[in-house]
């Protein structure tokens, strides 16, 4: 079974440019998460989707960040315009659901390392 797929693995852009990250969750997983991991820190949740609905985006900086999950499968996270402080690793994770139960374990992708110059 394929794991969570993310692309690109690395992205270098200049500030004020737009950038997009793509995530393909594990087949059948209804819940999808985007996490931000700054250097030397643990990941922090940006947004959670239940199928195609964003049910928790309280930590997403909506002035420059946007996300979508069309048809409840793949997801795209966009930054426009990027700032120097956006340099970080963006992790995608998925789970069968988000309620109680070990079957709702989150599986992570390899992340995208973004560098903003």
């Amino acid at each position: 079974e394929a794991g969570v797929v993310q692309s690109p693995r690395y992205k270098i852009i200049e500030k004020k440019q737009p950038v997009a990250f793509w995530c393909n969750p594990i087949s059948g997983h209804n819940t999808l998460y985007w996490y931000l991991q700054n250097l030397g820190q643990g990941p922090e949740l940006l947004i959670r989707y239940e199928n195609e609905e964003a049910v928790d985006d309280s930590q997403l900086p909506k002035d420059r960040f946007s996300a979508e999950r069309l048809k409840g499968v793949d997801s795209t996270l966009k930054i426009q315009p990027a700032e120097l402080g956006d340099s970080a690793v963006y992790l995608c994770a998925s789970s069968l659901g988000s309620g109680r139960g070990v079957y709702n374990e989150q599986f992570f992708g390899p992340g995208t390392r973004l560098t903003v110059l």
Partner: protein, 118 residues
């Protein structure tokens, strides 16, 4: 809001020896999950071990075991017979069992970098 604290930025252990990584957390909930994740240089977060708060028995997974002290809100990871492949960042994480709002998110600590020497 829940918080997770890892007070050891770096730890070192010799191959075949045992090391313990510390984690404390703060929550007002009585039921929750605790996890240890490993993050090698490839950046992929890998689940090492899971503990359900309502279970008194400490979880074990082969060479990995935890010491879960619910009253003290402590959740340490013990790695026995350390191997070179254990070298990585280790993150302690908390998740509520609820499914409302932000409850199902993982709250991570700042991590402990484990070095394994020959």
């Amino acid at each position: 809001a829940q918080t997770v604290t890892q007070s050891q930025p770096e730890m070192s252990v010799q191959e075949a020896e045992t090391v313990t990584l510390s984690c404390t957390y703060d929550t007002s909930e009585s039921d929750y999950y605790l996890f240890w994740y490993k993050q090698p240089p490839s950046r992929q977060m890998i689940l090492v071990i899971r503990q359900e708060a309502y279970k008194q028995q400490n979880a074990t997974e082969n060479r990995f075991s935890v010491n879960f002290q619910k009253a003290a809100k402590s959740f340490s990871l013990k790695i026995s017979d350390s191997q070179l492949g254990d070298a990585a960042m280790y993150f302690c994480a908390y998740r509520s069992v609820l499914n409302t709002g932000t409850a199902s998110k993982l709250t991570f600590g700042t991590g402990t970098r484990l070095q394994v020497t020959l």
